[in-house]
Structure formats: C-alpha cells, structure tokens
C-alpha cells in the first residue's frame, strides 16, 4: 500500500473532523461532514475495499448529508457552540 498517500489523506481526515465540530453554522458543519465522508471513501478505495467504498460514497456522502441538511433547514441554523 502506498503509505505516503495514506498519511496525507488521514491528516486531512482529522482536520475535517475537527473543523466540522467547531463551525457554528450548522449548514457548513453538514457540508464539511460530507467532505469527511468523501475522504474516507477515497481511503477505502486505496486500501482495496471497493465494495465498502462504493457503499460509503452512495450512503454516507449522498443520502446521509442530504437528510442532515434537510433537518437543518427545518430547524434552526445557528448553534451556540
């Protein structure tokens, strides 16, 4: 496995997770959560788990992000922390 690629993607993953939890705008937090799902899908495709990457791309970065944004639109958009 190409370890340089792995290390770079993993560092991006940690940064995306921390940013998604620090944003006060809930719409932006949902979008960065979509970025997190896409990066994990890329990591799994590089590791050789193609079925898992396919499922995560369809479910995590597709449906999961959409229903989170739908909930944010129906309720409040700002959060206090």
């Amino acid at each position: 496995m190409i370890w340089q690629f792995d290390i770079i993607i993993l560092i991006f993953l940690v940064v995306a997770a921390i940013v998604s939890l620090r944003l006060k705008d809930l719409l932006g937090a949902s979008m960065v959560f979509g970025i997190y799902s896409f990066l994990i899908c890329l990591l799994w495709a590089e590791m050789g788990a193609v079925d898992v990457a396919f499922t995560e791309a369809a479910v995590g970065a597709g449906v999961s992000t959409v229903i989170m944004i739908a909930t944010v639109f129906s309720t409040t958009r700002r959060s206090k922390d």
Partner: protein, 155 residues
C-alpha cells in the same frame, strides 16, 4: 530525503501510524458526543465515531501483496499457473489454484457493509427525534431543554 531518516520512518512509524490516527479520530468523536451542547453536533460526533471504527476494521484486512477481493480470469497470472500445474491431474486445470496472498481479506468488508447501513438508519431516526424535540421545545440546545424540563434547577 536522508536514507537513514526514511529507513527509520519505514521501520517504526509506518506499521503503526494508521492505528494511532484511528484512535485519535475515535476520541474526537467521543469528546463531541459528551461535551457538545447542540444536538446536531452530538450526532455528527456519533457519525465520526462510527466511521472511525469501520475504518479500523477494514484496515485489518489489508494485505501488502494483495489486490481487491474479486477473482478475475483474465489476468496474466492465471495462464502461468495453468502451465505450471499441467503436469498434475487434469482436475487442477478446471479448479484454478487460487493464491490467497493475492487477494485482500473479504470478511471485514462484509461485516462493515452491514455496519454502514445500520449507521445511516440510526442517523435518520436520530434526526427525526431531534426534529420532534425542536417542535416541542423550540430549541436544539441541550441546556435549554433541560432547563425547561426541570424548571429552576440544574441537575
């Protein structure tokens, strides 16, 4: 890069580096679930925790010499194997000998497919409950909800 430093990295850090990052991701998710006040942030923390655990399981099945777990009959290796085993009984020509070091371990992939789907079901139901809470209390912050449930006291 200096070859000594590259060697040091390859021997000591590369074999275990991935596990450290997975533990850090899990702890980020756990911290968010415990300390954040907003309900949606708690759900994002739960999702980060779940995907970090799935990442850990899938990386157990990785093999350095292996590719994806789909057997293909058009690769260059198969013709060589058929020639090598042609001296043996003809039964071996029909059942190709499959070298298990060339394929990644398929068992963690199967278990984690179920885990991803269960994770999205849980997320959908949790978002529905949080919408219902917002309809009853008007807010999604945990301390305001607790204040309305127990008026005046903080327990």
């Amino acid at each position: 890069m200096d070859p000594i430093i590259a060697n040091f990295i390859e021997e000591n850090i590369v074999p275990k580096f991935n596990y450290w990052i997975y533990v850090i991701l899990m702890m980020i998710g756990l911290y968010a679930m415990i300390t954040k006040n907003n309900l949606i942030k708690k759900l994002i923390g739960m999702a980060i925790f779940q995907t970090a655990i799935i990442l850990f399981y899938v990386s157990i099945g990785v093999k350095e010499t292996g590719g994806i777990p789909i057997i293909s009959h058009h690769g260059p290796d198969h013709h060589q194997e058929a020639e090598v085993h042609s001296e043996e009984s003809s039964k071996n020509l029909k059942h190709n000998i499959i070298d298990k070091d060339k394929y990644a371990n398929p068992l963690p992939h199967v278990l984690m497919l179920t885990a991803i789907v269960v994770g999205v079901s849980t997320l959908g139901l949790a978002l529905a409950i949080s919408q219902r809470i917002h309809k009853s209390f008007g807010t999604l912050e945990e301390d305001e909800i607790l204040n309305e449930l127990r008026p005046g006291g903080h327990d």
